[in-house]
Amino acid sequence: MSRLRASLKCVATGVLAVPLLLGAGAAMGSTQQWSFPSVLPTDNDGLEVSEVSLRGQSMLYSASTPFFELNGQKYEFKDAYRVAGPALMEADGFAQVVATYAVPVSEGTVTARIAYTLVDQADEGSDDSQVSAWVQFEGPTGDYHFFWRLDPDVGSRTGTRPALLDGADMTPVLTESVVALGDRAYGIIDLNSYLEGTQLQLEPNPADGARVYTVAFHPGEADTHPRDLVDGESLERQGRTVDFVLWYETVLHDVSSGLTGPDMYARAAYRVNALVEQDKMTSVSFIEDGTTVYDEYRSMQSGFATAGINILDVKQDKSNIANDSSTTNAELHSIMLANKTYEYQDSTSQWYSWVGTVIKSSSGMGVLGIMFDDGSTNTDGKPRQGCAVFYEAHDTSWPEGDSMQAELLLSMTHETGHVYNQHHEDFCPGRVPMSKFKKGSSIMGYAFNNTNYWTFSTGSIYTMSSEAEQWSRPGHGVDFTTNGSYNMTDAHASKHVSTSCRWFCCFNQ
């Protein structure tokens, strides 16, 4: 039997609430996972949470307090009826905001506790985390219908779509507006990401007699009650404006109490934030993180985003490494140890890796980049943390329309992919069967920009976004290779494809 051990009443007003609770969070030693930075008791809508995010990835723009119908009459949780809370409960991997309302109804009073609960389940063998909007109520016996409005917000990029999930299949096209009970669920996916699964999934709970409505919602329109979606109606997002919402309805017959409400399961497109430090020799330029090639904007940030790594910055740091016209592997090792910024390298919420931009490899001009900080070269206890790009080796002729800057960026991203323990055999961009190692590959292949798909492979995405961090985190995981092979899991190995494959290499990816 668990026991609550601590209790604190702390009245904080205005801006003081911010530093106060920041300090509390730090004292608990918790790390970045969920956030719901706005809890809003309002006159009309009761308690509402806004901008709920998981690992920095937006999940819900807002989740309103339910309104309910008792024996056919509608009631709302107005702020005037609030009798306790809201209270915030915090623990590692857990947060809940709860407030209590006493709502007068025709037959008496309905006492209800409104709760928003966020639980990190990553340490229980699941990648998903849970966010729930519950009501626990007591009142006169009757038929209760509760309605929640949930505004999903899985990123600000275009391409976000609702999908109907049926068992293991996911159909990214909405074909009906009301989901029948069963194992089907709504998922909100971001089609710009190759991450497996949905980013926010809502499953109707049969025990609650639950139904889900998806409603198109054009910017500027009010939407205060569920209505049917017009089949085929465009759900194109426009900026940050929420243009479709979910309504979750539960139906409880002839009861006087209960706990009901939607459970949502969220998977962050970004597993973790990351920082890349770039140091360079004096005569070469920093590699800019971002360029347009073949009418597509590519950056290291967008490349790693496909695998759930949110690169916050490719920090152009030291620019005064003395020139060396031809650098050996031993010299690279020496340069990295002397120049990397040690203060960053142990952050758990912001993974760190290092890139040195130097002039040329002692191995010759055809060598574009190298990952040189693996295993036994790791003399500082931080294996697989550093790589280098050879600047002048990129000053050559490229396919028409390609550029030196774009190829430098590709090299930096490719080598950092090695630092994240991804391999050349991870060259399949996914669902592109004709891809080959040197043509039509992912970032980890040898294709030039003209045929390179700016993404990681399905195997790389799986490992970087979902597998235990030792398999990808720079400086804090397994070595790149061992015993002549790569250090990886069975699951990752099963997604490898031979680099010598000639036809339909990625058919099963």
Binding site: S2, R5, S7, K9, V11, A12, T13, A17, L20, G23, A24, A27, S30, T31, Q33, P37, V39, L40, G85, P86, A87, M89, A91, D92, F94, Q96, T100, A115, D120, S129, Q130, W134, Q136, N205, L259, T328, E331, S334, L337, S361, V367, L368, G369, I370, G375, S376, T377, T379, T396, E407, Y446, F448, A468, E469, N483, G484, Y486, T489, S498, S500
Partner: protein
């Protein structure tokens, strides 16, 4: 399930004050001034009530199967806002949860995967018109002695062949598979992964032309490869990823690692006792590998007549014979001819006396040329000339 707690108001107040003191310490560290926190009997009672509400929800959620587990301990704070704005913008919740995941996936068995590599390699058709051979300068080694393999690809066809001729495993075209004394399959794992793009490293090999490289395989990312006494079988597997060179299999070379004398073994223990020694010897340089350099010097001092000492001198002399860009000082350290003379002199002399181990051709050239260059730098051109002439004689003998 979260339990209801029997509460004593006095205890609750003490707990509240304790929590506030704890919070105060945390904030003091963060340099934040606390204002607005209060604690009174009335407020403690309110805290209890708020807590009751929260715990009740959790209990029911767990009972209904809506929540798998509830935390054993947590902090409750009342976010009640009397102001009209009524907004609690609490940044603290940005820092909730656990970002660290515990390892829950088993590691792939490396030896199995080494076998898988071989099986996969063998599914690719052998390329014709190219001969791929490996050799070592000798078959008998003393424990700790560096093993250098000479790999050669020769175009034995009548046509020009296009292929990458970088045979060092760091380029990943060529892999070494080694079967150790216990029968264990070992793959050579290079300490670096060097990359190119497209066909930038491909070259044309004319009929009769060959490409040769001496490759140190005594040390890899996992440490020292030949650390046990016994027989080793070495084979190279090449995949050039071009139409002309899809797959080449080398011959198999067998070597035997012998225990040597007791002193040889003690010296070898010191040599193989650290990765920096291995890195330094493999790279032939590395001023920043101070521990490795110190170990090699110790071998020379403690076991001057051993095989390990011979190679320690060679490695230290090799390092001093080249310019080294030292990141620690952000500058180049020029060659040090006196140091080269100090270390390479005994190496060359041992070769000339016939007491040196049989060296790989590239090592032989390196030792003699480095010493000759050092004499040149010191102004003794006659001695430099004599050493270069001696190298020609030795090479003739070797070949």
């Amino acid at each position: 399930m979260v339990g209801q707690q029997e509460r004593n108001p006095i205890e609750m107040r003490e707990e509240s004050m304790k929590a506030i003191r704890s919070l105060t310490r945390g904030l003091a560290i963060a340099g934040v001034l606390i204002l607005g926190c209060q604690s009174s009997d009335q407020e403690s009672a309110e805290a209890v009530r708020v807590q009751d509400e929260a715990v009740s929800v959790l209990n029911d959620a767990v009972a209904a199967g809506r929540l798998a587990t509830a935390p054993d301990r947590f902090v409750v704070r009342d976010l009640d806002q009397a102001s009209e704005a009524a907004i609690a913008y609490h940044e603290s919740t940005k820092n909730l949860g656990k970002a660290i995941r515990t390892p829950n996936v088993p590691a792939y068995d490396p030896e199995s995967f080494a076998r898988h590599i071989i099986e996969e390699h063998q599914q690719v058709p052998l390329s014709e018109g190219l001969r791929f051979t490996i050799s070592t300068p000798k078959t008998d080694y003393v424990i700790g002695e560096p093993v250098i393999v000479r790999a050669t690809i020769e175009n034995v066809s009548d046509y020009v062949k296009v292929l990458p001729t970088k045979l060092d495993p760091q380029f990943q075209y060529n892999r070494f598979i080694i079967t150790g004394p216990s029968g264990r399959l070992m793959g050579y794992s290079p300490v670096t992964i060097a990359c190119t793009r497209g066909n930038l490293l491909d070259v044309e090999l004319a009929p009769g032309e060959s490409a040769t490289e001496d490759i140190p395989i005594f040390f890899d990312k996992d440490g020292w490869m030949f650390s046990d006494v016994g027989e080793y079988r070495i084979q190279a597997l090449y995949r050039g990823l071009t139409d002309d060179a899809e797959r080449l299999d080398s011959n198999v070379v067998t070597i035997v690692v012998n225990p040597g004398t007791d002193l040889d073994q003690e010296a070898a223990d010191l040599l193989m006792g650290g990765n920096e020694q291995g890195l330094f010897m493999m790279w032939g340089e590395g001023d920043h590998l101070e521990d490795g350099i110190a170990a090699l010097r110790q071998i020379i001092n403690l076991y001057p007549d051993t095989t390990a000492a011979f190679y320690a001198r060679y490695a230290l002399g090799s390092n001093m014979s080249v310019e080294f860009f030292d990141g620690r000082y952000n500058r180049h350290r020029p060659p040090q001819p006196l140091e080269v003379k100090r270390y390479m002199g005994p190496v060359v002399q041992a070769v000339l006396d016939g007491t040196a181990p049989r060296l790989a051709p590239s090592m032989l050239e390196k030792a003699f040329n480095a010493l000759a260059d050092a004499y040149d730098s010191l102004g003794d051109r006659d001695q430099a000339r004599r050493i270069r002439a001696a190298l020609l004689d030795v090479q003739t003998d070797v070949l």
